[in-house]
Symmetry: C2
Subunit: 344 residues, 2 copies
DNA sequence: CTGAAAGCGCTAACAG
DNA sequence: CTGTTAGCGCTTTCAG
């Protein structure tokens, strides 16, 4: 039974602060202070304490310590399951890249990171964490309120769509980055630049349409937009792009949202007898191995998950350190990778 | 100061089990048992307790709970930094995929996962975890001994190279998978099959050489092996393969270890005027977006990090559940993805 | 500079 | 079925 397992693990009785104190011939509080440095301990006493601790293989019980101090020196991470659930390769690449980056950032700072299954699922007991990063929250995400109500400070990595002005938020600066992507096409007035956004209604697709429209207006270009659903298979995507090119005539440049459609788009363009970049410039609004390894390689907007991770952890440390919240969303700059598909 | 931050977070006094008990007009132990179900509580009492808890926004203090029970319902994960440190894209893809898979596996089971910076770095206080997965341990990794000495059960995800027979280990079954990769080439006796392994001395490269040699012998093939260092740039790798083809004459099939060199290998082969798969079959001993999206796509051995993750978490749950250790390394089957580069 | 003792919030014996 | 009570191991007053 479970009973057996517990016994097996407690076989070796825990070495407590009392054992160390006894072995070193001092009181428990002296041992505690020797480590914490919160009061002066003579050098030789410290010596004896550490030697005894070493010999006994002592390390402080994190539970007892946290119970006393109220802190766990760990931060939590909530990742919305939609990123993990769907089997789309690009989706899991995003999930893994964000989770991995936050993990690495925490390792670097020597702070513990705990993945939280789902805080709102009433589990009786909460997860020990001093604060919690909620990555890509849902609209009006109840997790945020739940955690804050229990006194756990939250940092949002990308805003809650319904509450973009929440304090303690970091977010990718889509509009600047997307603008840069359009600029990189290097097309002059009077040219035709298509946008092929995804069909899901999220901030990223919305921004793409908005920035495209604005930029076309500023540059005196006609706007042409054709949605390319996230759920299309590669072959379906290729067929759709081929049809669009046939029906509407090829534009001078084409910007698509999902980099996973790099291959299909390239093949459709090639089938139409167009060369990239000579006849048609190409750019995509997210970066992945698909755009990097395509031939020709595709100019892409790297959404900079690493930067988002780093900024989120940094903001959390500030918040836990008692600083005042920043004036607005802390912007994370996406990075444009100019590649062969937009070279002159 | 830190003082300020602490106060800010403790602004809202913690709701304890006593508060709930008082509000519901019962004793603290009744509240405890209402949740844990470790003794029978009348339906209406439970009702009152939960209502009171809900109203007060109660959830149990994880520190106090863990201190009492000795368990934290979390498992730890130690990932060796070499995977994160080097900037190689394939390396970080591996790191992220493994970390992400373990995270997802834990989310699925509703168990907490804590990334452990480095347990052996004497931090005075340990990290709260019921057990710890050490992924890709170093040879004679001291982390394993350190944790076990402190009574924290360890599961190795891929063996400690110096101690492959440690109990509670899961490992990728390289040899079976690699054998399958060679078989997939579909070449007959008397043909020439090159192996281009990496130059690092790790289990994976060692196995590749061993399996290749054995298979060549079994199939009456000449063995030709040329190392392709992990540190080469794409252009350097392409140049090296081109030179090898020129110097030694093209083989009938070529197996390379690192899938990130898919592009370079393909280009070198094309430069030599060879068509894949008609003139030359190709396979790689690890899978990634590079082999998947190449044209033609490359037959690759997917090392199945997801499977490794899942098996490791599963084994940990068994160990924590008090089961006896399995008889040997729990094998995880890598998956061969046959693609265009080996089609007939 | 050091020791003694209180108590963090919870669970698990004991008692009914 | 429910209440009372004794600690889990640590930090932190309070005394010296």
């Amino acid at each position: 039974m479970g009973q057996k397992g517990r016994d097996a693990r407690l076989r070796q009785p825990r070495v407590t602060i009392k054992d160390v104190a006894q072995a070193a011939g001092v009181s428990p509080s002296t041992v505690s202070h020797a480590y914490s440095g919160r009061r002066a301990i003579s050098a030789k006493t410290k010596e004896r304490v550490f030697a005894a601790a070493e010999a006994l293989g002592y390390s402080a019980d994190p539970h007892a310590r946290s119970m006393r101090t109220g802190r766990s020196e760990m931060i939590g991470l909530v990742l919305r399951p939609r990123f993990a659930a769907t089997g789309a390769p690009e989706t899991s690449e995003t999930f893994n890249r964000l989770a991995g980056s936050i993990a690495i950032e925490c390792l670097r700072r020597g702070i513990g990171l705990v993945h939280v299954p789902d805080p709102t699922r009433q589990e009786h007991s909460a997860v020990p964490m001093d604060g919690c990063i909620v990555a890509h929250p849902y609209a009006s995400d109840p997790t945020i309120d739940f955690l804050e109500a229990r006194g756990i400070p939250v940092v949002c990595a990308d805003p809650d769509p319904d509450r973009p002005a929440l304090p303690w938020t970091v977010g990718v600066d889509y509009s600047t980055g997307m603008r840069a992507a359009f600029e990189a096409l290097g097309v002059g007035p009077g040219r035709r630049v298509w946008l092929l956004p995804g069909s899901e209604d999220n901030a990223w697709n919305r921004e793409a349409r908005r920035v495209h429209a604005r930029w076309c207006e500023d540059s005196s270009l006609r706007t042409e937009v054709h949605a390319l659903s996230e759920s299309l298979s590669p072959d379906e995507a290729e067929a759709l792009v081929s049809r669009l090119l046939a029906d509407h005539g090829a534009p001078d440049a084409l910007v698509f949202s999902l980099s996973k459609t790099s291959g299909p788009v390239l093949r459709a363009v090639a089938s139409a007898g167009l060369r990239v970049p000579q006849d048609l410039k190409l750019a995509t609004l997210t970066d992945s191995s698909f755009s990097r390894t395509a031939r020709p390689s595709i100019t892409a907007l790297d959404l900079n998950h690493e930067g988002l991770a780093s900024a989120a952890v940094d903001l959390m440390m500030r918040r836990l350190g008692g600083e005042a919240p920043p004036g607005g969303v802390v912007p994370v700059a996406p990075v444009l990778h100019a590649r062969e598909s937009t070279s002159r």
